[in-house]
Subunit: 477 residues, 2 copies
């Protein structure tokens, strides 16, 4: 077991992040450039994410399918912006065994091209629409500055791809999926997110519109936790997807794609965790409650029996409960489960047994309470609910304090260097975005849906040219 | 919708197989050499397989994780037999974008090498054992003669990898996992399988023992539906996996691996389906019951209302039920769901409504029965149970009739050409297996666990040398 001290957030936020991952045993670097191994405890978080989101997808009539890992290189070049966006990151298969292949294949960085090729066979008539498909899979975008979960050459994700009869229906669907992601972040991950539209230079390669949900980490930086793209008829026409409409005319349908990835786990860590290690919201935690029998050689058997009873009762309430019967010392156990972010810890020792009580500690606040064993079931459920709410509230308060609207460039620079999200008016040009990025390493996060644009200043914060919209700027992962 | 006639099994079994896949809309060839696209209805079968097996794994304490898609080429060469077995099938990544990589990577054909490298970091002490890990993922073995589901360059599978303190524990675990596969095949897939050990030349590259479950298709050929390998300490020592035992000595642990893949769907099709299309056992069917409202312009609304009520009642019994409200004619609907192998079809028309009845058809026998709407819930459940049992029985009878024990080479040839599994005595040499394979395209399927070896003939059926064991021979996919 790793007993290394966790660097504090204050000391070095980047190192703290890596220390938390190691201490909680979530993932490690693989002996393959930029790739990671997701260890069982980290993967269990991903399984919970999959289970919950997949159910939401299925409620909307979305069906899972599986498309090939490899994409003929020539497919990638059919949409000019698309290939330009991905070319430098494409891992390319040129050989099988010692034989050179007749054509090169790239490992999918995303699957629009190979899926649209299939859609061109599947879609013939308006009766075939909409097509609502999704796949859970691995993708690869070669990464020179890897960071566990946040940026890895290979990552796991889901990518949804839909085909619609009209532009309006497609656009509405892409917004609906963003709403699914927002609700998931807020209700399950306890992470407040800002939903909005990306500016032109932050759009997905080839998209007409990209919608995003952006979260703030505890260092004030942003993580993009999910995106949903509206393509209009662009991709459909490049890949020859056509349908005969009820008016007997051949038309290109409109399409969308949307995805979330293992990167969300990186955000989850950086939003909630503390200097003691991982902190997990109860609704996503692989283990919601850990029971530690404090065995000191006195009434050990009775304590163990009671602990098993408590576990069985909590499991019967559909909770995920671990009873730690390992031969480690109680202090070691406490320390280890704390680092793993288990929301509620229940300790039962000889004295507790005598008094028919247990000592219950919540991970979010470290508060200890004594609860009668008779009330443990209902109080644990209340506590978990309370932790879920508290984590969301805490993250919301933190974030809200760190968003500020500014009206001049000096203020902008000052607030950015203080680690804040900054709202400012902007001239809508790619040049201005690029200049700000070059100067401050700051990018536009999005044009928030719920931001009041009626009081738009006259001039762009940077260029002084006519402003067209207020956007949120921030540093990002 | 595809209205193409399905080739009969008698006419051309291979074409029948492809026609059934197309008619049921399960999968299609991808524009990538040897790869397939698994369409939503086919993928839904895979999702059911995953759900059921994953639960069994978790009951045994097996945890899921995720290891990289790419493996450094040099890793593959660490175990001589292993690389020899896989070298010609390895898709190799040499470039990213236009840049040549400093080292080549292969796309995993299986993950022993990269996982054992991780195990060498994870395992230090006997307290870390056993490690019971599994991953659900894609793998690639380049395929020159692809066949949907059965042999594709990329396929989906699970691969379990375990590390144990002793050889005996590892060996027992590999047998236990084979038992999980056997039970799954027989109870869920309604497919009788022969469990046994592979002969030396059919072993997994690098394994000490390979166990297998073999099923017979309706053309008398075999499909290997799952394998479990015992490695002893071989792989552990090649990859430097060592642990400090309680006696303070450094030892190599013993390991196992075991897997099943999308190939099982190919077997499922060829075991149960008929000339009308796909036939699915209820326990694996994505849709267990389809309800077809026969709308002829008379009492349509009442019929639809009743059909919805029937659907809701059956769903409340945890059944997966589709109500077909599309605007196709009733005959078209019946034909289409028959091809998709839905176990039970319920039709409700104007006359049925008057009589408070429904016409219920079982897919396995095409038998039609009339059931009172009041009894529909319980009778449908009984019917599904009965179909599950009947499919297993039918497949068992078919297979049992086609296994024969022979005592001389002429009989052997005759029975093999009649499409049977043949039990015969064999001298245990790789040369004899190769000679038989070259002459008749027949391989050893396994040494069945439950085969009486006490009456072993003196001589090998082929070489005439001293026989060492009786094995099952057969043609295979």
């Amino acid at each position: 077991m790793n007993q290394k001290k966790i660097t504090t957030r204050e000391e070095d936020f980047s190192q703290w992040y890596l220390d938390v991952i190691e201490a909680a045993d979530l993932a490690e670097h693989a002996p393959v450039r930029g790739c990671m191994i997701i260890k069982p405890y980290g993967y269990a978080i991903w399984e919970n994410i999959q289970k919950i989101l997949d159910l939401e997808f299925k409620k909307l009539g979305i069906e899972n399918a599986y498309f090939p890992l490899l994409i003929p290189e020539v497919f990638m070049t059919k949409e000019a912006e698309h290939i330009e966006g991905f070319a430098p990151e494409l891992a390319t298969v040129t050989h099988v065994g010692t034989e050179k292949l007749p054509e090169n294949y790239v490992i999918r960085p995303t699957s629009e091209t190979i899926i649209y090729d299939a859609f061109s066979r599947w879609v013939k008539s308006y009766r075939d629409l909409p097509v609502l498909a999704n796949q859970w899979c691995n993708v690869m975008r070669w990464e020179l500055r890897p960071r566990l979960f946040l940026r890895t050459s290979e990552f796991l994700w889901q990518e949804g791809h839909t085909v619609h009869r009209t532009e309006q229906e497609a656009e509405e669907f892409s917004r609906k999926m963003l709403e699914v992601y927002k609700t998931f972040q807020e209700e399950i991950m306890a992470t407040p997110v800002i939903a909005g539209e990306k500016t032109a230079s932050e759009r997905f390669a080839g998209a007409k519109r990209t919608y995003t949900v952006e979260a703030m980490m505890q260092d004030g930086k942003a993580v993009q936790n999910g995106t949903s793209h509206f393509f209009g008829t662009t991709f459909a026409s490049h890949f020859g997807v056509e349908f005969l409409d009820s008016d007997n005319k051949l038309k290109n349908p409109s399409t969308t794609s949307w995805g979330v990835s293992t990167r969300m786990i990186g955000s989850l860590i950086m939003v909630h965790s503390d200097d003691k290690g991982l902190v997990l919201p109860p609704k996503i935690a692989p283990i919601q409650v850990v029971i530690i029998p404090v065995l000191l050689g006195k009434n050990d058997e009775q304590i163990l029996k009671k602990a098993k009873e408590v576990q069985a009762n909590l499991i019967a309430q559909s909770l995920s409960v671990k009873l730690d019967t390992s031969d480690r010392r109680p202090g070691e156990k406490i320390f280890s489960w704390e680092k793993k972010g288990v929301p509620v810890r229940i300790e039962i020792g000889p004295k507790d047994l005598e008094n028919n009580m247990a000592v219950v500690t919540r991970r979010d606040t470290s508060e200890k309470i004594t609860i009668s064993l008779n009330e443990l079931n209902s109080k644990t459920i209340d506590l978990l609910d309370d932790i879920q709410v508290n984590l969301f509230q805490r993250a919301s308060n933190y974030r809200d304090e760190k968003i500020v609207e500014v009206n001049n460039w000096d203020e902008f620079k000052k607030e950015i260097s203080a680690g804040k999200f900054v709202i400012a008016a902007y001239d809508g040009t790619v040049e201005t975005e690029k200049a700000i990025k070059d100067e401050l390493k700051v990018t536009t996060r999005c044009i928030p849906f719920n931001l009041d644009q009626s009081n738009l200043p006259e001039k762009c914060i940077y260029s002084g040219k006519k402003a067209v919209v207020k956007v949120i700027f921030g540093k990002s992962y």
